[in-house]
């Protein structure tokens, strides 16, 4: 247990939590804190706040890529023998451990570290194969039903897109299209309030034509945005965009 000398009155709990998070307590005192946490809301709240305050220090560390085999080892180590997978509903009996305690995390008021979230966004590993749509010469247009002008961050044109009644989507680069030698443009469809859906890699210099997947078509009833991001050759791994946004624009009815 921490000494109480030299500590301002009323600060013992605060300091004990800080010492715990910093990591200076000996094993006995450390276990003592963890034993108290489930039943001591004030201490748990203080620990949560100190995790938030001091955690930001950890984000200054340079990234380090773990060896590729480590993922396989982690998967092997997952406790699959459990009778049932964790429940999504959280309605089951509460786990006893401190780290499993919802109450503990409930004490976290907000996100002092939220601003640092983006520091966590790491590029994905080399992409699994994604079948690219075929780049074609501009086709004789069917009558388009929808269109979008995808503009770049600086307001310049990036791409134009038209979508006809047969759900054929044609995306054409602007006169001076965004260009990258190392990355490829990937097209995303974003129905309002939903996660982006990859429509695949598109050509940099010519029109790309593709047919919207049938399960995507119904989503167009909501306001929808098209966006292009830079992705590694082969496209965004596993359908999740990794790169910066090249251009974006809302799809509107014609």
């Amino acid at each position: 247990m921490a000494e109480t000398t030299d500590i301002p009155e009323g600060m013992q709990t605060e300091l004990l939590a800080a010492e715990y998070v910093l990591g200076v307590l000996d094993p006995h005192a450390r276990r003592g804190v963890e034993a108290r946490l489930p039943g001591d809301a004030a201490l748990a709240a203080a620990v949560a706040m100190w995790n938030q305050r001091l955690g930001a220090l950890a984000l200054d560390v340079p990234d380090a890529t773990p060896p590729a085999w480590l993922w396989a080892r982690i998967v092997d180590a997952l406790p699959l023998s459990a009778a049932a997978p964790p429940s999504r509903t959280r309605s089951g009996p509460a786990p006893a451990g401190f780290w499993d305690s919802l109450a503990f995390w409930r004490t976290l008021a907000g996100g002092a570290l939220a601003a640092a979230v983006i520091a966590f966004v790491a590029p994905w590993r080399p992409a699994p194969e994604i079948e690219p749509p075929v780049a074609v010469a501009p086709a004789p247009a069917a009558v388009p039903a929808h269109a979008a002008a995808l503009v770049q961050d600086d307001g310049r044109g990036g791409y134009t897109a038209t979508l006809d009644h047969d759900h054929r989507l044609r995306v054409s680069p602007a006169a001076d299209p965004p260009h990258s030698d190392t990355q490829v443009p990937e097209l995303w469809l974003i129905p309002e309030g939903q996660a982006p859906i990859s429509l695949g890699v598109i050509a940099q210099d010519t029109t790309t034509e593709l047919t919207l997947p049938s399960d995507v078509v119904p989503l167009l009833s909501a306001p929808t945005v098209l966006a292009v991001t830079w992705e590694p050759p082969g496209g965004a791994p596993q359908g999740v965009a990794t790169g910066p946004v090249v251009a974006v624009g809302a799809l509107f009815d014609l």
Binding site: V24, W71, L78, R106, G111, A116, A119
Partner: protein
């Protein structure tokens, strides 16, 4: 520059300020954690791919012996898989949670192994100077890191080094006093006063 995460934001996000971009990033990690809590292996793999480089960086810094760092990263992700149910997206930053899980595993490992000597002196190492080495640290995201660094810089040099060494090496008061060759009472006073100053600075 908008990272991919901005794509998870609703239409109109191109005009969104940094705050909403960060919120979108945070929500993306929260969604992954919620899916992991539901036993979704794919979500777990995506979470790993998005966060393992940063978390392994923390492991390597705390445990310079590579094998130990790998062991701790494994333990941390197994714990994340098991404990994701205990994380409530409405109530806590996913980053706070992930960092705390990893640091706890690392500190437990350091405690279990007892006092150790380091081949590399990292005690006084400050934050990385070379911004280029952190291409993923977005300007707006760096703000929070700057804030803790600004507050650290209000501490006197030796006390700041003591806090940093404690944070990264997981040394107990006794080990830290020995390392820094100061009396135990002096060291405790340094650390405690520093922590209280940091609280005032960060909360202010």
């Amino acid at each position: 520059m908008l990272q991919f995460i901005a794509l998870a934001a609703p239409p109109g996000f191109m005009t969104a300020d940094a705050t909403s971009t960060q919120r979108a990033a945070r929500e993306h990690l929260q969604q992954l954690l919620a899916a992991v809590a539901g036993g979704d292996r794919d979500a777990f793999e995506r979470l790993y791919r998005l966060t393992s480089a940063k978390l392994f960086g923390i492991c390597v810094r705390m445990l310079p012996e590579r094998g130990e760092a790998e062991d701790v990263l494994q333990e941390a992700y197994v714990a994340i898989w098991q404990r994701a149910r205990g994380y409530d997206p409405a109530l806590a930053s996913p980053v706070t949670w992930l960092v705390a899980v990893v640091r706890n595993k690392a500190i437990d490992r350091l405690r279990a192994a007892g006092p150790r000597r380091r081949d590399v002196a990292i005690d006084a190492a400050g934050p990385l100077e070379d911004e280029g080495a952190q291409p993923l640290r977005e300007a707006e995201a760096a703000v929070e890191g700057r804030r803790i660094e600004d507050c650290m810089n209000t501490l006197e040099t030796r006390q700041r080094d003591a806090v940093r060494t404690a944070f990264w090496e997981g040394l107990t008061y006794e080990e830290l006093a020995e390392r820094l060759a100061v009396p135990l009472g002096t060291l405790k006073s340094w650390i405690r006063r520093s922590l209280l100053k940091l609280k005032v600075c960060l909360d202010g």
